[in-house]
C-alpha cells in the first residue's frame, strides 16, 4: 500500500465502556472483518509449515457483557482438508493497559455447521486488536492491526500473517565513514508478506539516513526471502537494489539485510545502505516516541 503521504498519527481507541448504571441497559457490538491475511500453519508432528490463504476472520466484541465471538471462515490446516468455517462463541474479552482489545481463551470447542466439533478444539486462542487511526492524505482512516494466534487440537499452531502491516520505528544510523550516529523517529515502514512467493517487500516512507540528506519518499526493498515460524518471521538478503517510484537506485544499494520479528510486537531490522550507512531500526505496532502521537 503505497498511499501514505502524510505524517502518521496512530492512536489506540480504547472502547469506552457503557455505563453500568445506564437504566436502559443499552448494548453495543463492535465487529471487525479481517480478510487481508493468510494462515501460517506449523504441524507439530511433522515440523513442517504451510501457508493457506483465502481465510477470513470476523471478530465481534459485545458490551456490556464483554463477550466476544469469532468466525474463522475458510480455515485449512493441511492440504487434504477442505476449507471449514469455524464459529467460536462465549469468549471473554478485555482492554489491556494500552487499550488493546484482547481475547484469550483455552480449549474452545468450535461449532462447524451448527455442530460442536471437539476434534478441532482450539487451544490457547489469542486475539489482539489494535484499533488504530492513521492520517493518510489528510484524512483520518482506521488502520487496525490484528494479532491472532492459536493451536488446533494440540497439533497445528496457526499464526495469522497480515498481507501488509504498517510499523512505526526508531531508526538509528551510523555513518561508518564519519562515525557519527543519526537518529530518526519519523520513518515509517510498510511490510508486505506474499504467501505465494514467500517473500516480503519493505517500503520505507521518508527514508533518510543522514542529517543533510533529503527525505526519500517510498524507498522499497522488494522480494526479500521470507521465513515464517510460529508467531513470527525473519527476513534476509545479502544484497538488493532498492527502488523509488519503481525506478531502481543502484547507488543506494542495500547489503546485509536481516530482520527478525513477531507479529505481536514488531521487528528488529538491520541493513547497510551505500556500504556506508549502517541502519538499525526497531519497528513496532505502537510507538513510544512523542513524534508518533501515541
Amino acid at each position: 500500500m503505497k498511499i501514505l503521504k502524510q505524517l502518521l498519527m496512530i492512536a489506540i481507541l480504547a472502547i469506552a465502556t457503557t455505563s453500568c448504571d445506564d437504566p436502559e441497559g443499552s448494548s453495543a457490538a463492535y465487529e471487525y472483518s479481517y480478510s487481508e491475511c493468510f494462515n501460517y500453519v506449523s504441524n507439530r508432528q511433522s515440523g513442517k509449515g504451510s501457508v493457506f490463504d483465502d481465510v477470513k476472520y470476523i471478530i465481534k466484541f459485545e458490551m456490556p457483557s464483554y463477550e466476544a465471538s469469532v468466525k474463522i471462515m475458510g480455515a485449512k490446516f493441511n492440504e487434504r482438508m477442505p476449507a471449514i468455517d469455524f464459529e467460536l462463541s462465549g469468549l471473554k474479552w478485555s482492554n489491556n493497559a494500552n487499550g488493546v482489545l484482547t481475547i484469550s481463551a483455552n480449549d474452545v470447542v468450535p461449532v462447524v455447521n451448527g455442530q460442536a466439533m471437539s476434534e478441532y478444539t482450539i487451544n490457547q486462542f489469542k486475539v489482539e486488536v489494535y484499533d488504530r487511526y492513521v492520517v493518510i492524505d489528510g484524512q483520518l482512516k482506521t488502520s487496525p492491526v490484528f494479532v491472532i494466534q492459536y493451536t488446533i487440537a494440540e497439533m497445528f499452531d496457526v499464526t495469522v500473517v497480515p498481507e501488509e502491516v504498517l510499523y512505526v520505528a526508531s531508526t538509528g544510523v551510523l555513518d561508518v565513514e564519519q562515525g557519527a550516529p543519526y537518529y530518526n523517529s519519523d520513518m515509517l515502514y510498510w511490510i508486505e508478506f506474499d504467501a505465494e512467493t514467500m517473500t516480503a517487500d519493505i517500503e520505507i516512507n521518508g527514508a533518510k539516513f543522514a542529517e543533510g540528506m533529503p527525505a526519500l519518499n517510498d524507498m522499497e526493498f522488494n522480494d526479500i526471502p521470507l521465513t515464517l515460524y510460529t508467531g513470527g518471521y525473519s527476513l534476509a538478503a545479502d544484497a538488493l537494489i532498492p527502488t523509488i517510484m519503481d525506478v531502481p537506485y543502484p547507488n543506494y544499494a542495500i547489503t546485509s539485510l536481516s530482520g527478525n520479528g513477531t507479529f505481536a510486537n514488531g521487528m528488529d531490522l538491520r541493513f547497510k545502505c551505500m556500504d556506508r550507512y549502517s541502519v538499525n531500526a526497531s519497528l513496532s505496532i505502537v510507538g513510544t516516541t512523542s513524534s508518533n502521537q501515541f
Binding site: 502524510q6 527525505a215 526519500l216 519518499n217 517510498d218 523509488i244 517510484m245 525506478v247 537506485y249
Partner: protein, 746 residues
C-alpha cells in the same frame, strides 16, 4: 442617489432626537474639510496630539516635489520606503517594522478612502494639499495593518481653491510629468474639481541583454472630487479616481557582475478605480460621520524570476480585486469629556492567477540535475522544453470591528482610553495544476541510454483553506499641556497593534516544486495550510514624547522615544527535517526601540530650517528558521537611522514677472540597512544632496531642481535567488525643471 437619500433619511432621524445646541466636537469651520483624522482624533492637529505625527503642508509638498508617499521617505523620521522593483513591490518600514510580503504595517487613506491592498500603495497624485504620517500603533481606531502607523493623504478641495492649475515638468531620463486641474465652487454649497495627470520616464537603468532601459514607466490618473453641503450641519464629499500604470520595472543587477542582464520580459501594469463617499453631520450634541469606499484593482506582474540571461523560469501574478468598506463614527464632547464610537466593516475579493513557467535551463538545473545526482544509473529527461506550474486563487476576506475611545480632560491633563474589537475572516480557494511528463532512462551500462519508463506528472488539486481572527486592541494615553504660552505638551502612550493573518500565495510555487520532486521520490511533502497560512502578528508600542513650540511659534520640536514588542512575527522558515523549500509561519519575536526628533526653525518669514532624525534599534529576540538561529541579529531591510535636513530662503523680487525667488538645499540620509537575517550583507549609511531654485509669481512658479546631485552610489534592495545575489542600485543624479501655473479665480 438612492443610497444618498437613505443616508440623509438616517441622519435626519437621528437629528430629531437632539436637544439644545452645545459645543460640538467639530466646529462649523471644520466642515470646510472632512478628514479621517478629524473624525477620529481628539485634536484638530495630529502633530499636537498624544502621539508622534508629521504633517506636510502644501508648501512643503511643493518645495520637495512630493507626488507620492515614497517621496516622504526619510523626511519623516524612522519612515522609509525604498524605491525598488515596481510600484507593486513598495514596502514601508517604520521604526523597524515592515513587511516585504503580503500584509503591510502602515495603513494608507487617500481622501479618507482606506487603501486595502499594499500592492496599490505606490502611485503619484497631483494637488496634494496635506500628508499626515502618524507613527506608532494606530490599530485601536484604524484596525488592521496599522501597527506601525497610518498615512493620510488629502487632495486640494474645491471649497478652498477655485481656478485652473497646470503642472509641467521635465527632467533627465526623458522624464515628463504633466497635469491639469479645474476647481469650481458653484455656490457656498457645491464645489467640484477635475484633475488629470500623466507621467512618463524612459528610466535610468539598462538591461544589457537587449540594450533597453528596464525602469520605464507610463502612468495616468483622473480624479473627480465633489463637495456638497446641503445644510450647515451636513457635508458630503465624493472622490472618484482612476489610474493606469504601465511599468518596466525590476532593474536588478547581479552582485557578481554588476550588470542588469536578463533575457525574459519583466513588467508591471495596473488599472485601479476607486470611489470614496464621506459624509458628516454635526449635531448639537454629537457628530455622525461615515466613509463608504469602493476599490477595484486589475494588475499583472510578470518577472524573469531568475534575473539571469539563462532560461530558468518566469512568474506571472495577475489579479483582480474588488473591495468595499464602510466606517461609521459617532462622536461628541460634554465639557471635559470627549468620546467616539465607531463601526467598521469591509469585504474584499481577490481572484488571482499565478503560473510559474519552467524553461529548459531551469528544468535542467533545478529538476533533472537534482534528481539525476541521486540516481545517475537511471537518469531522467523532461519530455518538454517548458512546462507550467499553475495556480489559481480566489480569496474572499471580510471583517467587522467596533471601537470606542474616551478622553477626559483634567486641568492640563488629558487621559485617553480606547478599545477595538476586531473580527476578520479570510478564505483561500485554490486550484493547482500541472500537466507534463518525463522519461526515465536505463544507463546502467554507462554507454547507452535506453528508455526505461515514461512518467506523467499530472497535478490537478483543488482545496479550500480559511482562517478567522479576533483581536482586542486597547490603547491608553496621557498627555499634559505644558504651562507655556505656546501649544506644548508631553505625552505617554501604550497601544496594541496587529498585522492581519492570511495566506501567502507566493509559497504555492514552493509547494508545487516540492510536490513534483516528491512525485519523483525525493523531498518533503507539505501540508499546504502549514506552508502558506499564517496568523496575525501583534505588537505593543510604548511611547513617550513631547511637542514643544516657542511662544512665537518660530521654533518647534517634536521628540519621542519608543519601545515595540512584537510577537508571532510572520517569517519564512525551512520546515523540520529538510534543507529545501520554505514555509510561512509565525516563528519570531522581535523588539525595537529608538527615538525621533523633528525640528523646525523659522527665525524670519524668509528663512526656514527643518531637520529630522530617527534612530531605531530593531532586533530578533527569537528567530530560528529551521537551520540557523538569528536571535539577537538586526532585523533586515529596516534602516537604523534616517536623517533629513533642509534650509530654505525666500527673497522678494519686484521684477514684474518674478515676485519671489526661493532657494532650498536639503539632504537625506538613511542606513545602515542589513539585507539578510544573518547580518552578513549591508548598505552603510549614505546621504543624498538635493537643491532647488524657484522663481515665483502669483500665477506661476518655475523650479529648477536636482536630486542626488553628487550621484551618491547606494543600493535600495538586495536579495538572493537560486544562489545568485542581486541588488537594485539607487537612482543617479536627477535634475529638471517644473512649471506650475495657477489661475485662481476670486
Amino acid at each position: 442617489m438612492r443610497l444618498l437619500r437613505y443616508y440623509i433619511l438616517v441622519i435626519l432621524s437621528v437629528a430629531s432626537l437632539c436637544s439644545n445646541a452645545t459645543d460640538g466636537f467639530v466646529s462649523e469651520e471644520e466642515l470646510q474639510e472632512i478628514t479621517i483624522t478629524s473624525m477620529k482624533q481628539m485634536r484638530k492637529n495630529p502633530e499636537r496630539g498624544d502621539g508622534m505625527a508629521t504633517v506636510l503642508s502644501d508648501s512643503i509638498i511643493a518645495r520637495y516635489n512630493i507626488a507620492s508617499i515614497k517621496n516622504i521617505s526619510n523626511i519623516t523620521p524612522n519612515f522609509y520606503q525604498p524605491d525598488y522593483g515596481s510600484r507593486m513591490t513598495s514596502t514601508i518600514y517604520v521604526r523597524g517594522l515592515g513587511a516585504r510580503i503580503d500584509q503591510p504595517v502602515v495603513g494608507l487613506n487617500v481622501d479618507n478612502v482606506p487603501i486595502l491592498n499594499k500592492d496599490n500603495y505606490d502611485f503619484d497624485l497631483m494637488d496634494i494639499s496635506r500628508i499626515e504620517m502618524l507613527r506608532g500603533a494606530q490599530s485601536t481606531l484604524y484596525g488592521r495593518n496599522t501597527m506601525g502607523g497610518l498615512i493620510n493623504i488629502y487632495t486640494l478641495s474645491p471649497m478652498k481653491y477655485q481656478g485652473v492649475r497646470f503642472l509641467g515638468e521635465y527632467g533627465n531620463g526623458n522624464s515628463l510629468k504633466t497635469g491639469l486641474s479645474y476647481y469650481e465652487k458653484f455656490d457656498d454649497k457645491l464645489g467640484m474639481s477635475f484633475n488629470g495627470y500623466f507621467t512618463m520616464t524612459d528610466g535610468f537603468f539598462e538591461n544589457i541583454n537587449n540594450g533597453e532601459k528596464v525602469d520605464t514607466e507610463r502612468q495616468g490618473s483622473f480624479r473627480w472630487k465633489t463637495i456638497w453641503r446641503p445644510s450647515q450641519r451636513l457635508s458630503i464629499e465624493n472622490v472618484a479616481t482612476a489610474q493606469l500604470t504601465r511599468q518596466g520595472g525590476y532593474p536588478y543587477a547581479s552582485v557578481a557582475t554588476g550588470e542588469i542582464n536578463y533575457n525574459d520580459t519583466c513588467f508591471y501594469r495596473r488599472t485601479s478605480i476607486a470611489d470614496g463617499l464621506t459624509m458628516k453631520w454635526v449635531g448639537d450634541r454629537f457628530t455622525l460621520s461615515g466613509v463608504t469606499s469602493f476599490q477595484y484593482i486589475d494588475d499583472n506582474m510578470t518577472l524573469d524570476q531568475d534575473f539571469l540571461p539563462l532560461s530558468y523560469f518566469t512568474l506571472t501574478q495577475a489579479k483582480q480585486e474588488w473591495a468595499l468598506s464602510q466606517d461609521i463614527v459617532i462622536s461628541g464632547t460634554e465639557r471635559d469629556y470627549s468620546w467616539l464610537c465607531g463601526l467598521f466593516g469591509f469585504y474584499k475579493r481577490t481572484n488571482m492567477s499565478a503560473p510559474v513557467t519552467f524553461k529548459d535551463y531551469g528544468i535542467d538545473q533545478l529538476i533533472e540535475k537534482h534528481r539525476n545526482d541521486a540516481n545517475p544509473h537511471y537518469p531522467i529527461a523532461w519530455d518538454e522544453d517548458t512546462f507550467v506550474l499553475g495556480s489559481d486563487f480566489c480569496m474572499p476576506t471580510y471583517g467587522l470591528a467596533f471601537y470606542h475611545q474616551s478622553a477626559y480632560r483634567l486641568g492640563d491633563f488629558t487621559f485617553t482610553a480606547g478599545i477595538r474589537f476586531d473580527y476578520e475572516r479570510t478564505d483561500l480557494d485554490y486550484h493547482s495544476y500541472c500537466n507534463t511528463s518525463y522519461t526515465v532512462y536505463d544507463f546502467t551500462d554507462g554507454v547507452n541510454l535506453y528508455p526505461y519508463k515514461h512518467e506523467p506528472v499530472v497535478i490537478d488539486d483543488y482545496g479550500n483553506l480559511d482562517k478567522s481572527f479576533i483581536e482586542i486592541l486597547p490603547k491608553l494615553t496621557a498627555s499634559y499641556r505644558l504651562p507655556l504660552k505656546s501649544e506644548s505638551s508631553i505625552y505617554a502612550s501604550v497601544a496594541k497593534g496587529y498585522k492581519a493573518g492570511g495566506f501567502n500565495t507566493q509559497m504555492f510555487s514552493d509547494v508545487l516544486q516540492q510536490r513534483i520532486m516528491g512525485m519523483m521520490g525525493i523531498g518533503m511533502k507539505y501540508n499546504i495550510d502549514d506552508v502558506v497560512g499564517y496568523d496575525p502578528e501583534k505588537c505593543w508600542t510604548y511611547e513617550v514624547g513631547t511637542h514643544l513650540s516657542s511662544n512665537n511659534n518660530s521654533l518647534s520640536a517634536d521628540i519621542a522615544a519608543f519601545y515595540i514588542n512584537c510577537r508571532n512575527q510572520q517569517l519564512t522558515v525551512f520546515p523540520d527535517g529538510t534543507t529545501t523549500g520554505r514555509i510561512m509561519t509565525n516563528a519570531g519575536k522581535t523588539r525595537s526601540f529608538g527615538a525621533e526628533l523633528s525640528l523646525r526653525y523659522r527665525p524670519t518669514d524668509r528663512l526656514d530650517f527643518v531637520a529630522s532624525y530617527g534612530y531605531t534599534n530593531a532586533r530578533f529576540v527569537e528567530y530560528y528558521n529551521g537551520k540557523t538561529d538569528f536571535g539577537g541579529n538586526v532585523i533586515p531591510y529596516a534602516p537604523s537611522n534616517t536623517l533629513f535636513a533642509s534650509a530654505a530662503y525666500r527673497h522678494p523680487l519686484n521684477w514684474g514677472w518674478i515676485e519671489m525667488i526661493s532657494f532650498n538645499v536639503n539632504t537625506k540620509g538613511v542606513g545602515e540597512i542589513y539585507w539578510d537575517e544573518a547580518n552578513l550583507v549591508k548598505q552603510p549609511f549614505y546621504m543624498q544632496l538635493g537643491a532647488s531654485l524657484r522663481l515665483e509669481h502669483k500665477n506661476y512658479s518655475l523650479d529648477f531642481w536636482g536630486e542626488n546631485i553628487t550621484s551618491t552610489k547606494f543600493d535600495t534592495f538586495y536579495f538572493v535567488s537560486i544562489g545568485n545575489a542581486f541588488v537594485q542600485r539607487g537612482k543617479p543624479c536627477r535634475y529638471g525643471m517644473t512649471l506650475r501655473l495657477n489661475f485662481e479665480t476670486i
